[in-house]
Subunit: 548 residues, 2 copies
């Protein structure tokens, strides 16, 4: 009640307020209009929109004032940053809240990973709403570092905002009791590419509320019609906004928001985050204010974030100030009434979080070249990579084709499992690349054209994990990913520079220019994406759901 | 989880479902479109929208299928019915949920009144979400039957859906601690006619979320812009839809819903309830589907009613089937999957609720004619009634003008307080009317041109209360209102007939035809409506907020 009295007194002009934003053009997410007014803020809350003056005025005349943006679905791990560095990257772009699913670290470190992400998110100005991952491990066709059961889910849910993307839609539809047992909490995120008809009815009947996997407007329309919220995604690999924006109509607008899902920090720094989604949507024909409504009010409604997502009395003072409606120059970002970013720079520093429970996660014996020995018959089943896609093709190849050898090695519990296969279209020459990022179990994946470079690349990962590029018996580039083998402890800028150096080094290996040398590897072990995959348990046919 | 499995099995067609609505034209509140599909329902929940067939099909081809309507703000007491009879009246019109503020009975019976309304609402198919009245008594200028303090409010709130209309906006703005102490719960309804600027900012900063008192579009726009939800009202006296519908735009649509506030059951039977609001809105130019969206999805979003307000999987099977889009012929109403109304008739019966704590609420000594004696000077301050309005005018009248004498008598605690005044423009002749409905404290109000008929009319109310019409020493019409002196225990049809008979009887008294003989009386004691009022404490000037 003491707070309410302060808000009322501030609104009435009886108290000064912490500051007054003077004369800005306010994006009104309720009416869709833009109007000029002052805003008074006290104790992190907007108390009044009207005529205010006082000793602490900030002139924002000529600038646009709007609510902070919300990323409705993201895996922070995919940025390769710790939560604090992630915050420093996204907040200058106007993002003040993210709905984060720590699915990747959970597959490596289990509950320890979730605890780390929670603690690391606590002392940063970014509002991180953590969802409890629902699919750890993602499939039974690989060995992950941890498992979270239905029973553990029901206990843990109290510390989370909701249930993260329920990818196991076959389990839901077939009433698998472990899958159903994980359906708890206030909101359940979905993940159901191309699911339709009665199967979609069943999935939604189970209580799933969102989907970020639509690839065509018809799919989006059916899901909206059946009550789902659609999160339009623009990440690093998945670029869906151009395809889906026609599905956003005056009626369906309120059912749509934006997300990035997986986005590398270098792209956040260079291109933006949700501000980039807004620009992309606008470039495909939607009105700017409508795109901002999706990024703010809608996102907050979907995730039950009360008193957030608008510039109005009683709303949290999460405020973005932009020089123009392109949002290319965001001059100020306030979080709960605190100025946290100015002219593209984060103004905050964060104490390091203890990471001792989530480091040194790679457990391997020393690998020798003969670890990768395998007899090769003349005709073999191989994985064909497809340019600009994470889909693969199951092909029959000959021993004499330009084949790259790939191996996935279990790295969590020293189980000694490995799968070896051959890839066409990658064309690596005189070298090898190894990585501890391999969705979703994040075992070690290594690819090369000779066993000794492959062994060198894997051994160079050490206990920390990371990415290494080797050629001719030498390590020519490497990046440590100390946190779970997924995230670096360095700054966003350093990570971006190291990552650029990896790509430069890879060029020396003559890898097919139309294939992303690292992302194509990261998704090769994911046994839910067509058509053929390699896990630590062997070569897997996604069409028949059987090992080959 | 057992339920979820049943829903999934039903959606997949592995279970039959309780029934299938076959081939209806479904109003899609998400896309704004109308499409043809089947609907399968199990255990009160819609499990699938698609192609279904089974042994329990209901052919609704050629008919329109839509979610049940929600009345977002109503005082059931104003229908003059008990909750069960109210349900029988509104449900055939497609209303399946009401947000009810039992403010009237609370002013008479306090917590007992709230308990009665809760118990009486429990066993009816209508979903009654009770709000805890925030203003009991409504003002300090009269004596009510009960008071509910801030302290009591904070204890009681756990049993209510939210806080009922906070009419005491001056108290909020001035930070009155009793008023602020009542601001608790998940949603706080507002009531702030013409409040604007910084005062409106202050009121909203306190956490008030809705307003149903807008009278012009500009007022509505400012309130929407500042984050309020607007409940467009069409009651018995207050007809706001025609004035406000222009404020409903593609953007503001989601911020708007319908309510009736105060609506007599006779009008519900003859004209409808929320279905009438939809027709009215459509007649003033809004699209029918948009009006239905206001009456369903929007209302449910505003009041946090999850999984209600749409025809989609996982939503409650509150379903209205109408022969055409005029909604004049609603052929079926389902509540939680149960057929509760057919062709305008309620199919349910309800056991009577024990009402012993809320009856015999009129406590008066026997009144004699000289109770109303008062010396009259040549020039007096009088109340002028204004046709088709509850606003009054403060005028100076002469002894020789056609004056009606009005008296408000405290009836709750035998305090012996009374206020006598004179009314112009009512013109009652050779008779008197007495009533136990007098907003908001519901003391006895009596009006007449002679003391003996006035005494007869008051005495005839008995302990139960009600309305009586007397002429020339005889009771010519009367209606018992056993529950708190506000609601009849009879059926909706009987109440309507008795009420018609009262109006017929009143005609014999030559009352000004442009003045509503009964409603004008009911609002004469309400000391918050301009310009001059009479309470049991005396004649009150609403402009100066002082007794005369």
């Amino acid at each position: 009640m003491k707070n309410i009295k302060t808000y009322i007194d501030t609104a009435m002009g009886r108290k000064n307020g912490d500051f007054i934003l003077k004369g800005g053009s306010i994006i009104d997410v309720f009416t869709g209009e833009i109007f000029t007014s002052d805003i008074i803020v006290q104790n992190g809350v907007i108390c009044g929109v009207g005529n205010y003056s006082g000793s602490n005025e900030v002139d924002v005349s000529g600038k646009y004032v709007m609510p902070g943006f919300v990323d409705t679905h993201t895996h922070i791990e995919s940025s390769m940053c710790t939560p604090s560095e992630y915050a420093k990257a996204v907040m200058p772009h106007g993002v003040t809240t993210v709905i984060a699913d720590p699915h990747e670290i959970a597959n490596v470190c289990g509950i320890d990973g979730l605890d780390y992400m929670r603690i690391a998110s606590e002392n940063i100005p970014l509002d991180v709403k953590l969802m409890l991952p629902s699919c750890v491990p993602a499939t039974p066709f690989e060995h992950s570092g941890a498992a979270i059961t239905a029973h553990e889910t029901q206990t843990a849910i109290k510390d989370f905002h909701g249930i993260g993307e329920m990818m196991n839609y076959p389990g839901i539809i077939s009433c698998d009791s472990e899958a159903l047992g994980k359906l708890c909490g206030d909101i359940i995120d979905g993940h159901a590419p191309l699911l339709s008809g009665n199967e979609l009815n069943a999935y939604i009947s189970a209580g799933v509320k969102t989907d970020h996997e639509c690839s065509i407007v018809n799919e989006m329309n059916e899901k909206i019609r059946k009550g789902m919220y659609i999160l339009l995604r623009e990440g690093t690999l998945s670029l869906d906004i151009a395809k889906l924006i026609k599905g956003v109509t005056p009626h369906t607008l309120r059912r749509c928001a934006f997300c990035t899902d997986d986005r590398f920090v270098g792209e956040i720094i260079r291109e933006g985050s949700i501000d980039h989604c807004i620009r992309k949507a606008v470039s495909y024909g939607i009105n700017t204010v409508d795109a901002i409504i999706m990024a703010t009010l809608n996102a907050c409604e979907i995730y039950g974030l009360k008193n957030k997502g608008a510039i109005a009395p009683s709303y949290a003072a999460d405020i973005v100030i932009a020089d123009d409606l392109s949002l290319n120059k965001i001059s100020k970002v306030y979080k709960d009434g605190i100025l946290v970013c100015e002219n593209g720079q984060a103004l905050f520093t964060v104490e390091k979080t203890d990471n001792s429970t989530v480091t040194d996660t790679v457990h391997l014996p020393t690998i020798t070249a003969d670890f990768f020995n395998q007899d090769l018959s003349d005709s073999i089943t191989a994985i064909e990579l497809i340019p600009q896609s994470i889909i693969t093709k199951k092909v029959t190849a000959r021993k004499t084709d330009n084949l790259s050898k790939v191996c996935v090695i279990e790295r969590h519990k020293k189980l000694g499992t490995k799968g070896i296969a051959y890839v066409t279209n990658y064309n690596i020459t005189k070298g090898a690349i190894a990585s501890s990022i391999g969705h979703d179990s994040h075992n070690i994946i290594v690819i090369g054209d000779n066993n000794s470079d492959m062994a060198l690349a894997v051994n160079a990962l050490g206990k920390s994990g990371g990415i290494t590029v080797c050629s001719d018996g030498k390590i020519i580039a490497s990046m440590r990913l100390d946190i779970a083998g997924l995230m670096s402890t360095k700054s966003a800028e350093e990570i971006t520079a190291e990552h650029d150096a990896l790509y430069n080094a890879a060029k020396a290996l003559n890898i097919n220019e139309n294939i992303d040398a690292f992302l194509s590897l990261a998704f090769l072990p994911l046994p839910v994406i067509p058509e053929i995959r390699i896990t630590d348990s062997g070569l897997f046919d996604v069409t028949t759901f059987k090992f080959i």
